[in-house]
């Protein structure tokens, strides 16, 4: 008796809890990313020295500095650091023992950030690009109480070493380095600061020059050259210069990796060790892992890597006579591995991550203190691909002779950054998405498969089609048990209105499209737009060498297929659902004439001009005049359905849109006169349809452009002049066949025309400018299946890290200027023009989240007309669904099926109860009447 009651009560509880939940955090998703962390700039550190809790700090390859909570992988804070230029791509991040700041060095700027909240404490600019930044753990030979000072080594024309006050950022002393030697790195021991310089010999070999400085005064105390003979061909062979430790070391190998040479900085003796070969492959990389703490044991680990395996050796330094001795070695394991160093008091621990195991050893002896087997890292990868660790950072706590707790963050070869706690995966951050360079949407193949089967049945002969259909249903019957199992749950969810998009498998609305992202590292990552927190697959598609870049373009020409094309020109197809490469015999070479398109006009941007070809011979050309450069070119999208060819006015007359699928908006800039020109071109004939010129434009600011349907939009930052005010402006232009309603202009009623033959007067363009409060870096437009839904202009606002969706009606160029709208105009939704367009808080797609570093926004239509899928990428990844005309063809989340059914049931009951009463009353009435 009680049980059904309880069930009923719980059933009512669920919707009661969901009353105030908005769609905001349900239909959209946001990954606040940092980019791939670098090994030397990632570490665990306690932001508050008095508390035990630590955060993971990293300065990533995307120059994002941030702190990540190791408990759940959430971002605590981040700062995007501007690099001084791409050529000098080194960055540093240091944290002093027991300090509440972290110190970063990038470009020529040294900055200190509060470790707890990421606020800037101080920053200093060096004269040249930074070569190294270190923290002086000991000041004047003893541990200081307050902020620890930093030492920076900068290169450029006047290389120098500077000591920067840790509390204020003031330069305490600076030492200019004489000679032409290139500064390389800094090392600090307890008594001295060493600047290591690279000296080029006549034979083009490199020698190491060490300059010892007094940390208190900055005076040179010693200088010597290490006799590296002719082994050091390039600086790449210097594998490590230990930084802050009791005995900093320099280690290098020869080019063939046969001997390892180690020098304890401050002495001139060099210990030499021959490197053993463990397998047939040549050693590709030698890395050195040493503790970064001044009072830890002076032990270090050398990590050797070949193409197929890796191993390591641990060395001890005898502090008394500065002798280096090999202590023990860690066995060879197949695959790549990562080592990390952690310290507890003076003890040093090395943690090793291999494909399938995590183990910790003490630096003193080779006994394993803890070992955990890793079944998988829990990340998506390509079919048959082995996920390998790239580098790791660990925090170890040891009780007695065993590891009581260990947290290790590992960057994997897939680009995921995962945290393992005692060998179990706790979280992963898809940091590979921070370097996304191209994106496309694709429909999953299973949706397509049904469509294909139906196609087969529609075109086959009736008997064969019937057999095919029966077979299909037999196959479908196999899914019946699982369907029956899930049925009750579905019904309950349906009643409560919670099933909207969590029903796995079926996707009747087209919300669960596959988003394929190509990353800079040559991987293709697929996300599910319905369940974005789960990576579908992640595979290597371009075999890139380190430092090599590619510019892929992704497209989904056919449902269920993702095509990757890069500068090489060939397209390779992948299955959208599982990432399998489809038969390679479908290369699409764009320059090969094929029958359907040989009479097509193609145009490309060559140098600083647009060149078109027709029938494979040059056709029209647009060359900007001397001094003018092309900023960007946006054609009308290929798939840009338009539901109505005209705008129906209130009085039932029609303004005909100028709909030409071959138009493009070209923006050019004249730097000398700071002028920007915008041209609407017909891309078949090269004729100019509309052109205008804006003087006094800040050409260093972004000039985004967009073209869709029969309108275009662009934005720029204008300088103050007599005609305009200083500020950011958004211009909208809409092109009509004629401005007279019901008139189709020169085209008249002709049903067919050629842009080349027919004489047409140019169409009419209405433009309007709005002053906007902040610059726009990128424009995009929503797309729906049939183009019935009104459109939204999506604008990326870099200044407030946001994306806004501006309804087209707000920026309509037909808004009446300097007068109130007439009744007819009001009915069309036209408001009186206002020069300032304020972004309504309701337009912000990201709500209160900060979407940082967005470089592009892509949109795709869902299967239902009202909705457009949006995906923004750059550093962060953000995606949502938009219904610019509201969801007119789908029931909202708040629609309660249970309530509706209950109402119907109640009405039915009421009808049954009341019907006899009414009948009796009617009968009574009839008797009375007669």
């Amino acid at each position: 008796m009680l049980l059904p009651l309880l069930t009923a009560v719980t059933l009512f509880l669920a919707p009661a809890c969901a009353v105030f939940s908005d769609e905001a955090w349900n239909i959209d998703y946001h990954f606040a990313l940092l980019g791939a962390p670098k090994e030397e700039t990632s570490f665990f550190h306690r932001p508050n020295p008095s508390s035990k809790a630590s955060l993971i700090y990293t300065l990533s390859e995307e120059h994002a500095l941030g702190a990540v909570n190791p408990r759940d992988g959430s971002l605590v804070w981040r700062q995007i650091l501007a690099s001084g230029g791409d050529s000098h791509n080194t960055s540093f991040l240091r944290a002093g023992e027991g300090q509440d700041v972290v110190i970063s060095g990038i470009g020529s700027e040294v900055a200190a950030w509060s470790a707890a909240d990421g606020r800037l404490v101080w920053n200093v600019n060096a004269d040249g690009p930074l070569e190294d930044v270190e923290i002086l753990e000991l000041s004047d030979g003893k541990e200081t109480v307050g902020a620890k000072d930093a030492v920076a080594l900068s290169g450029g024309e006047h290389p120098m070493v500077q000591r920067i006050d840790g509390a204020s950022g003031a330069v305490k002393w600076q030492y200019s380095i004489d000679g032409s030697d290139a500064p390389y790195q800094l090392s600090a021991s307890s008594t001295e600061v060493y600047a290591i310089l690279l000296h080029k010999t006549i034979l083009d070999y490199v020698k190491l020059r060490v300059v010892a400085l007094d940390p208190v005064t900055g005076q040179k105390t010693d200088e010597y050259m290490l006799s590296s003979e002719n082994e050091l061909a390039t600086a790449d062979n210097v594998i490590s210069v230990g930084a802050n430790s009791a005995s900093p070391i320099i280690a290098w190998t020869d080019a063939a990796h046969t001997t390892l040479k180690v020098n304890v900085v401050g002495t001139k003796s060099i210990s030499s060790f021959s490197i053993e070969r463990h397998d047939g492959n040549a050693i590709e990389r030698v890395k050195l892992h040493a503790p970064y703490h001044i009072n830890s044991l002076s032990h270090f680990l050398v990590h050797y890597e070949t193409a197929t395996s890796h191993w390591a050796e641990v060395y001890h330094i005898d502090l008394k006579n500065s002798k280096v001795e090999k202590a023990y070695s860690l066995p060879r394991v197949a695959g790549r591995g990562a080592f990390s160093t952690s310290t507890a008091d003076a003890n040093v621990y090395f943690t090793r991550v291999t494909r399938d195991e995590l183990s910790t050893v003490s630096s003193a002896s080779h006994g394993i203190l803890g070992r955990w087997s890793l079944s998988s890292f829990g990340v998506a990868s390509g079919v048959g691909e082995q996920v390998e660790p790239v580098h790791a950072v660990s925090e170890v706590s040891v009780k007695g002779d065993t590891v009581s707790a260990i947290r290790t963050t590992v960057l994997l070869s897939t680009g995921d950054w995962v945290l393992l706690r005692d060998g179990k995966g706790i979280w992963n951050r898809p940091e590979m998405l921070a370097s996304t360079v191209a994106v496309t949407f694709a429909m999953p193949a299973d949706v397509v498969a049904l469509a294909q089967q139906l196609e087969v049945e529609a075109h086959g002969n009736p008997v064969a089609a019937y057999i095919h259909r029966v077979q299909r249903h037999v196959v479908d019957l196999q899914k019946l048990p699982s369907f029956l199992v899930s049925m009750p749950k579905k019904i309950v969810q349906g009643f409560l209105g919670t099933s909207a998009d969590h029903a796995a498998g079926s996707d009747i609305f087209g919300f669960r499209q596959i988003i394929a992202c190509a990353t800079r590292s040559g991987r293709l990552v697929a996300l599910d737009a319905g369940h974005p927190d789960r990576t579908l697959w992640n595979r290597d598609v371009a075999d890139l060498k380190p430092g090599q870049s590619w510019r892929p373009s992704l497209s989904s020409t056919k449902d269920g297929v993702i095509q990757v094309s890069s500068a090489a020109g060939t397209g390779i197809n992948y299955n959208a659902t599982d990432g399998q490469q489809l038969a390679g015999d479908l290369p699409i070479i764009p320059d090969e004439p094929d029958l359907s398109t040989s009479r097509a006009v193609r145009y490309t941007m060559r140098g600083n001009s647009l060149e078109a070809t027709y029938d494979w011979s040059p056709s029209w050309t647009f060359t900007p005049i001397h001094g003018e450069r092309i900023l960007n070119l946006v054609p009308r999208p290929v798939n840009d359905p338009v539901a109505s060819i005209g705008k129906v006015l209130r009085d039932r007359r029609v303004l005909y849109k100028y709909l030409d699928s071959n138009i493009a908006l070209l923006a050019t800039a004249h730097d000398a006169s700071s002028k920007a020109n915008f041209y609407v071109l017909n891309t078949i004939s090269g004729a100019i349809i509309y052109s205008n010129a804006h003087p006094n434009i800040d050409l260093t600011a972004p000039v985004p452009t967009i073209m869709s349907e029969n309108w275009f939009a662009y934005s720029f930052t204008s300088e103050a002049s007599d005609a305009t005010t200083k500020g950011h402006q958004l211009v909208i232009g809409e092109v009509f066949e004629s401005l007279i309603p019901d008139n189709r202009g020169a085209m008249g009623a002709s049903s067919n025309y050629s842009t080349l033959q027919t004489a047409t007067d140019p169409p009419f363009t209405l433009t309007q400018t709005y002053q906007i409060p902040e610059p726009i870096s990128q424009l995009a437009v929503t797309r729906t299946r049939q183009g019935i839904t009104s459109r939204q202009l999506l604008a990326v606002l870099p200044a407030s890290n946001a994306i806004v969706g501006i309804p087209y009606g707000i920026v309509d160029p037909r808004r009446p200027v300097n007068r109130d709208p007439t009744k007819d105009e009001q009915a069309e939704g036209l408001m009186r023009y206002a020069p300032v367009l304020d972004f309504d808080p309701k337009w912000y797609l990201n709500h209160q989240r900060e979407v940082v570093g967005i470089k592009n926004v892509v949109t795709a239509p869902a299967l239902i007309e009202s909705t457009s899928l949006v995906f923004a990428y750059g550093l962060d990844v953000f995606g949502t669904r938009l219904s610019p005309s509201f969801s007119f063809d789908i029931l909202g989340r708040d629609f309660n099926k249970f309530q509706m059914l209950a109402t119907v049931a109640a009405l039915a009951v009421a009808t049954f109860v009341v019907a006899p009463l009414v009948m009796r009353k009617q009968v009574d009435q009839r008797w009375r009447f007669l």
Partner: protein, 191 residues
Amino acid sequence: MRVNTVISILLTFLCSLSAAFETEHTVDVLAWPLSAPKGATLAKITYNSTAATVKSYTQPTIPSSDDTVRIGYYHPSGSWSGIATAASNFAPEKSKKLLLHLNSDGELYHVGFRASDYGSSIATSNKMDGMSVELVKVRPGPTPHLNKPVVVNADGTVPSKEPEKSFLQKYWYFIAGFLILQVVMSSGKGE
């Protein structure tokens, strides 16, 4: 007063004179059938920032196999700018019009071409053998239509609004009419 007028008229005259004598540019517009190795001169046109005339026009010879002709010109830097149009547009019965697109400095940056079947209404002054020319100047970009600025007095204060008329000032004639009516009616009663 009169001196001022004279000076201003003189200035206007000088200005228009200088405009008339503005440097004339000449451009050779070439027609280049798709299969031809080189373009041939289609028209020589002189233009300044306000007007253009066709100096000479040569009917292009177009091979019958070609259905597309490029029309363009060479920039002073040697690079080519041009458009594509159908060869049938050069039929003698068509009236043809070249468009010269000028930027805001009066420089030529692109050409256009239009042909129509019927006799067009273009002024014949700049026409030669069915070829006319039209200048298309780049439009100044749209600017925001700002609201009217508030005009302040010399001392920087906002001028106070005219004081509104009082009720009596606004509607005195109604009251007066009513009173007159009363007086007239009462006098009528008195008789």
